[in-house]
């Protein structure tokens, strides 16, 4: 099994977001593997443990992304590929185009990714990639079983669970509940240093010569309005609930 994981490095979900010079401030911020992509890495490792083969983790981004790829290697992935892209204006069109160019030259059975990234939240890149490669996909999977050249997956669709059988090669995106990601072990971290790590310039990808212009552009960035501190109601529980219902009806007019 040639298993690939596409992963993205994101802000730690605990980070406070601030804006500096019209951009999200990145200094001092802790970066992690996008939590959904972590499920994808874990699933790739589990499939490999059962079926044999290799796990390659691939990311598009600036040099700092190497750290996330190294973490995946320390978890047990065999190889890492970083497609260099320093353009903070890149959109999902750009990223999926770069990934598609890379994958057109690879022999793969299975591509795993996260359902969406917790920073941008768009959930486009993986599904776009499947379409660009013309392979079937299922998003938001919570279970994966592979027998010869078929995969059976459970997929979460707004609370309903669908069981789908899909012919490989295929692409799946991981939903929470798929597995519990392992931590990198100390020997894993040591071994990771010796594993193949390939850094590619965009121009080295087939069919991608210069920059690929994004098709959407950010024109403004803002923080949400602070919620004004609320009111703690007073009195007995009975009095508080009566007041609450009154406020909702007569002041907020939502009931």
């Amino acid at each position: 099994m040639n298993i690939f994981v596409i992963l993205k490095q994101t802000f730690d979900t605990e980070e406070k977001i601030s804006i500096q010079n019209g951009k999200i401030a990145e200094d001092g911020v802790k970066f992690i593997i996008n939590p959904y992509d972590e499920y994808a890495v874990e699933e790739a490792l589990r499939q490999k443990e059962q079926l044999g083969g290799s796990v390659t983790v691939v990311s598009v981004g600036p040099a700092r992304v190497a750290e996330a790829l190294r973490t995946a290697l320390a978890m047990g992935a065999d190889e890492a590929v970083l497609i260099q892209n320093d353009d903070s204006e890149s959109d999902e069109f750009t990223i999926s185009s770069l990934l598609a160019a890379y994958f057109r030259d690879q022999a793969f059975d299975l591509i795993l990714g996260g359902y969406f990234s917790v920073d941008n939240g768009a959930g486009q890149t993986a599904v776009r990639l499947a379409r660009l490669l013309d392979i079937p996909h299922a998003s938001a999977i919570t279970h994966l079983q592979i027998t010869s050249n078929h995969a059976t997956v459970n997929r979460d669709a707004e609370g309903d669970t669908e069981t789908i059988e899909i012919r490989l090669p295929a692409l799946f995106t991981a939903q929470q509940g798929l597995n519990e990601p392992r931590y990198p072990s100390l020997p894993g971290i040591m071994k990771a240093k010796k594993k193949p790590f390939l850094t590619l310039e965009q121009q080295q990808l087939n069919g991608i010569e210069a920059e690929i212009a994004p098709k959407t552009v950010r024109t403004a960035l803002s923080l949400p309005a602070e919620r004004k501190s609320g009111r703690i109601l007073q009195g007995t529980i009975q009095e508080q609930t009566v007041e609450l219902v009154h406020l909702l009806r007569n002041e907020d007019k939502v009931i």
Binding site: F11, T13, E14, I17, I19, I24, Y36, E92, F93, S96, V118, D119, G121, A122, G123, Q124, V127, R128, R131, P136, A138, S139, A140, T142, T152, D156, A157, E158, G159, D160, T161, E162, T163, I164, I166, R167, Q176, A213, K215, T216, V217, R218, T219, A220, L221, S222, L223, P224, R227, G230, I232, L233, I237, Q240, T241, V242, L244, V245, V254, I255
Partner: protein, 325 residues
Amino acid sequence: MGNTYVIVAETKGGRLRQVSLEAIHAAALASHEEDKRIALLLGHQLKEAADELARYTEVILIDHPDLASYQAEIYFAALTQALDPIQPYAVIFGHTAIGRDLAPQIAAHLNAGQISDVTAISGSGDAIAYTRPLYAGKAFENRQFSSSPQVITIRPNNIAPAQPASTSSSITELSYTPSTSLRSVIKEVVSKSAGRIDLTEAKVVVSGGRGVKSKAGFQPLEELAEVLQGAVGASRGACDAGYCDYSLQIGQTGKVVTPEIYIACGISGAIQHLAGMSQSRIIIAINKDPEAPIFKVADYGIVGDLFEVVPILAEEFRKLLCAPN
């Protein structure tokens, strides 16, 4: 001649979803007067939903047994059969399970930019700005297209629904030619949401956290939700503890909800939970601990035991809502 905006409408249990009416309004906000707006409806036995939809805008209907439930490959094939001859300028979806899956496929097919999870549309002419959350609502961006065609998904409950017109528009039926080379097949669907109000579209959400203490602890919350015709949600703490299904989870790695009223019961208010609900219009927190961070974002707080407060609250709402005026 104007451009064509296509709204991909959705149904649930044969009925039109609210988010599709919101998408029709989104199309009106994004387009010019002279542009054409068409709603596309895919499914099976959807005559009634199509009639309903025609009260808002022109409709193209593809009705076929293969489209009875969503399947990525089949829906993609049917949708492109309808879209390719139209050459749309923009295609608008709800940011729902189906829209999230179908939109990026269509964007790739059309070689188009896509703006996902839109919560507001502003501007006019060529400078239409789409507002969308970043970092699970810890920031917002405005995004614009620098090319067409355009693909857009809109978050339920944020853009006002379209209003029906005084006369009905036309319904055109298109045939669907089933694809012969399917590589995926749905074996089974276990519906846990049948008859339930969809969380992401609910006007009222009653959520339980680890404070509910057990599966049975969700019962009073369900009763409160029923009185308010709302849906029940949960924190990850409650899901992890096995008190409820993960499909109820609200937060950064769960669902994002923006109801009129959000009632958090026994939820501490961790940042990852806030990410999924802090854009709700009115937030009510019920928690034993007066120091719980949830009170910092709540409009109204009741410090107390949820097992005492929630039933009384349900009773008060019942009195109000069921009383003859």
